[in-house]
């Protein structure tokens, strides 16, 4: 069984995140499954950035806290992370910027000098570092060169030279850690949640992405900005989140599938427009990337504490679709599904993700055929168009401005079937009921889709319940627990799949909730929706994803297996 786990660190601006991504790509290229997580503060230069890279010859879902190699371009990285090294761990460091004498094996390398020799700039140290790391793991130089060439294109020459120097220096001076054997398998992308959810939306017909920069959803912007022409879409960055959401309403009204991206704080500003999407029945997909809150919180760190906010956002009562994918593949499929459901049921949809899912890279298969445009019902016929026509399903057939003969009136006011303001008791009640009828229609539709996932032993009596990106840490922890264990991953949060959740909860003998918040938000949603009360919980809200090893210990403890 092959397994690689290392850390690379330096200051912001040292190119550590890029280097980690490329190392992940090198392992992915060899047929290993890689996972790359970045950890950085809210600053552009200085501070401390580090990334962990894990790779193995089987599907992996998460990084590990412990590493066998620290690769440091500064002193700080060594000081901060020494304790994460395994017993036989090593410290690879730029001898021009740091010193290290043990207790772990020191691997000094003259990165600064190498960069000077080729007349490069400081950030290129990371290329020499990549070369050295590749050498330590016995990766063929040709694979590294291929990845670097693809990443840097015409500007690759100096970086390639540095990769070679790093590689050769390490080969000559250091004992290899192991020799990674290539694994023969169908190639999978090494992709982040941000990238895959964007592609899912594109596949479901998104033509317009509107956003205002806010970590962690900026990762979507950073992908779609440069890729927009190739993907046949348009990206707009207007003056603020209120404009973003209202603009999206306008574009969707005019017939364009539109998605917006933000974080919890940005969504707080969008709430009134979110409510209008409910009232005016305008389909818009809202991607909300959670980070540590309240308020500005810790902008670059992950959390799962906005669930109840999102499910209760927007004044008034209206159907909403809310889905929480747990990995990049689910982000692809479920974002596409959210777009389709939003349009079929003319309701706002939320894709609830977090920094950990949006920004971590993972080797995972993505089948693009799992997402296609599902057409909504369009208005035909000769009779006068009624935007809010009463129907049994609650869904009124769509028309867009520009359609001959149709007058399409949408409004934030309560309204009659034609879209004119309505204030009579009977008129208000009827339209409120019409909108809420869509909820039953959505539930019927969801019963034919995957709303929850069961992992592990389906017959086990011990059940772990969780949502979103904690999926990865839980799957990894389960492999360490070594007892019959079942994991219920709840993917749809609204409408809530109580028909599935109740069934699994009633069969379980002992249930444990795992969430990245301190109040057990999913737990209280489950109680509200099913009447079940989950008494055991592993909760934290420290900005960091769960570490599988310590989570496994907590699971054992909770179930009395210690």
């Amino acid at each position: 069984m092959q397994e690689v786990s290392l850390l690379i660190g330096g200051q912001a601006g040292d190119g550590m995140m890029r280097a980690a991504e490329l190392i992940g790509r090198i392992f992915n290229r060899l047929g290993l499954y890689a996972f790359v997580i970045n950890d950085y503060g809210s600053l552009i230069r200085g501070g401390h950035n580090f990334c962990k890279i894990r790779a193995a010859d089987r599907q992996i879902w998460h990084h590990r806290e412990s590493v066998e190699l620290i690769a440091a371009v500064n002193q700080d990285t060594i000081a901060r992370h020494q304790k994460e090294l395994t017993g036989d761990g090593r410290v690879l460091y730029d001898e021009g910027a740091a010193k290290y004498e043990g207790p772990h094996e020191p691997l000094p390398i003259p990165l600064t000098t190498m960069v000077q020799e080729v007349g490069g700039i400081s950030i290129m140290k990371n290329s020499a570092m990549i070369g050295a790391i590749a050498s330590l793991y016995g990766v063929p130089l040709s694979v590294v060169e291929e990845v670097i060439n693809r990443a840097y294109g015409e500007k690759a020459a100096k970086n390639i030279e540095l990769v070679k120097r790093g590689y050769e220096f390490a080969a000559k001076n250091f004992k290899p850690i192991l020799k990674v054997e290539p694994v023969k398998r169908d190639p999978t992308p090494l992709i982040s949640g941000a990238e895959s959810l964007a592609l899912g939306a594109v596949k479901a017909g998104m033509k317009l992405y509107i956003t205002y920069p806010m970590t962690p959803s900026t990762a979507i912007l950073n992908y779609l900005g440069p890729a927009q022409d190739e993907l046949g879409i348009l990206l707009i960055h207007p003056e603020n989140e209120i404009a973003v959401a209202n603009m999206a309403l306008g574009a969707a009204y005019a017939g364009v599938r539109t998605m917006v991206g933000t974080a919890g704080g940005g969504f707080a500003l969008m709430q009134e427009a979110f409510s209008m999407a409910g009232q005016a029945e305008i389909p818009v997909v809202f991607v909300v990337g959670q980070r540590v809150a309240p308020a500005v919180g810790a902008p670059t760190y992950t959390a799962q504490a906005d669930l109840k906010f999102l499910l209760n956002a927007g004044h008034g009562e209206f159907p909403r679709i809310a889905v929480a994918p747990g990995d990049p593949e689910e982000a692809f499929v479920k974002t596409g599904e959210a777009m389709n459901l939003a349009w079929k049921y003319q309701s706002p949809a939320i894709v609830l993700v977090d920094k950990h899912l949006l920004e971590s890279y993972m080797s995972i298969g993505i089948d693009e055929n799992k997402v296609a445009v599902e057409p909504p019902e369009f208005a035909m016929g000769q009779e006068e168009y009624r935007r809010y026509r009463f129907t049994a399903s609650g869904v009124s057939p769509l028309a867009f401005p520009g359609q001959k003969g149709a007058v399409v009136k949408v409004t934030s006011y309560e309204h009659d079937e034609y879209g004119y303001a309505e204030e009579t008791a009977d008129g208000i009640q009827k339209m409120q009921e019409k909108r809420l009828r869509k909820l039953s229609s959505i539930i019927l539709d969801l019963k034919g889709r995957e709303t929850v996932k069961i992992h592990g032993d389906p017959a086990a009596e011990n059940l772990v319940v969780a949502w979103g990106s904690t999926k990865g840490a839980i799957l990894e922890a389960m492999s360490l627990v070594n007892r019959p264990l079942k994991f219920l991953q709840i993917i749809y949060l609204s409408p809530f799949p109580e028909w599935e959740v109740s069934r699994h909860l009633s069969k379980a003998r002992d249930v444990l909730l795992v969430e990245g918040n301190l109040t057990g938000q999913l737990g209280s949603l489950i109680t509200e929706q099913t009447g079940f009360r989950i008494k055991k919980a592993v909760l934290k809200n420290d900005g960091r994803p769960f570490d599988p090893v310590s989570l496994a210990e907590k699971i054992k403890e909770a179930f009395g297996w210690k």
Partner: protein, 282 residues
């Protein structure tokens, strides 16, 4: 088409004698003229309005409409234009809507030169909420939210729009609907962001017509050069006499042309496969 083809079945609830009736009539005339001249098909016209007395205009014209949240007439207008630039966009806003709640959007739409028309029903008061100050309320004016009289300096909307880069800046007067109709027609025909601040009497809370009428004059009849920015600024500073008409009009590339060229996003099909995009991650 005639004006009455745009009549809606909605019951009109403006106060008797409300100046909005004059604006409504002017708009319907302009819409009919647009259709009759072949400049727009009726289904290609979209109006938007905010919240306040003016907002009801969405209900009172039988044409595509987007009745917005308070202060948010401009962002949906931009969304609509980006989605389908063939659509003709006319947005209505109040002084509370455009200059208080939603001022940021107005600033940016002007800066971008989005091809749309914004008509602000500027009666210097929040009327539908029964009289409170707005950013254009004159000093000393007593309202429920300023019972001792407003002491804040009022905003000059024309100066604001000129400095933001609007390519068409005009002022109308609801007491002169014929003049209003003619500048509205010019505004709608303008390629770029066209802005009209309409000085409007609120018959219930701010009856200013008699006071303003003697001061009003048409600056376009006094040899004003509409391409001269400094002259426009000077005219917009006048308070003893109140100029109405087109202050400023220039051509500049529009937002949507720069963004889209000739693309009509609403008619584009999604790419059939993302295979190539996925390949880049392998």
């Amino acid at each position: 088409m005639e004006m009455r083809d745009f009549d809606s079945p909605a019951k009109n609830t403006w106060c008797p004698g409300c100046n909005n009736f004059g604006i409504l009539a002017a708009v319907k005339q302009v819409l009919a003229e647009l259709v009759n001249s072949g400049e727009a098909r009726p289904e290609e016209i979209v109006i938007l309005s905010g919240v306040g007395c003016h907002g009801k205009i969405s209900d009172y014209i039988r044409v595509n409409s987007f009745y917005c949240l308070h202060g948010r007439t401009v962002p949906p207008a931009m969304g609509i234009k980006v989605a389908n630039q063939r659509l003709k966009i006319i947005a209505f806003s109040g002084d509370g809507d455009a200059y208080a709640e939603g001022i940021s959007h107005v600033v940016h739409a002007a800066r971008r030169n989005l091809n749309m028309t914004l008509v602000v029903h500027d009666n210097e008061v929040f009327a539908l909420t029964t009289s409170q100050v707005t950013p254009t309320t004159k000093r000393g004016f007593r309202t429920k939210s300023a019972p001792k009289g407003s002491f804040e300096a009022p905003l000059n909307p024309l100066h604001l729009m000129l400095s933001c880069g609007a390519t068409f800046v005009a002022r109308g007067f609801s007491g002169d609907p014929r003049h209003l109709r003619s500048i509205l027609m010019e505004a709608v025909r303008h390629r770029g962001f066209s802005f009209i601040d309409v000085i409007q009497e609120c018959v219930t809370f701010n009856p200013i017509k008699e006071k303003y009428l003697p001061k009003i004059y048409d600056l376009n009849k006094e040899g004003h050069d509409v391409t001269n920015f400094s002259a426009a600024w000077e005219r917009a500073s006048e308070v003893e006499r109140i100029p109405i008409g087109i202050f400023y009009r220039v051509e500049r590339e529009t937002y949507e042309k720069q963004l889209l060229g000739e693309r009509i996003l609403a008619e584009e099909k999604p790419i059939p496969s993302i295979k190539k995009a996925l390949q880049e991650f392998i």
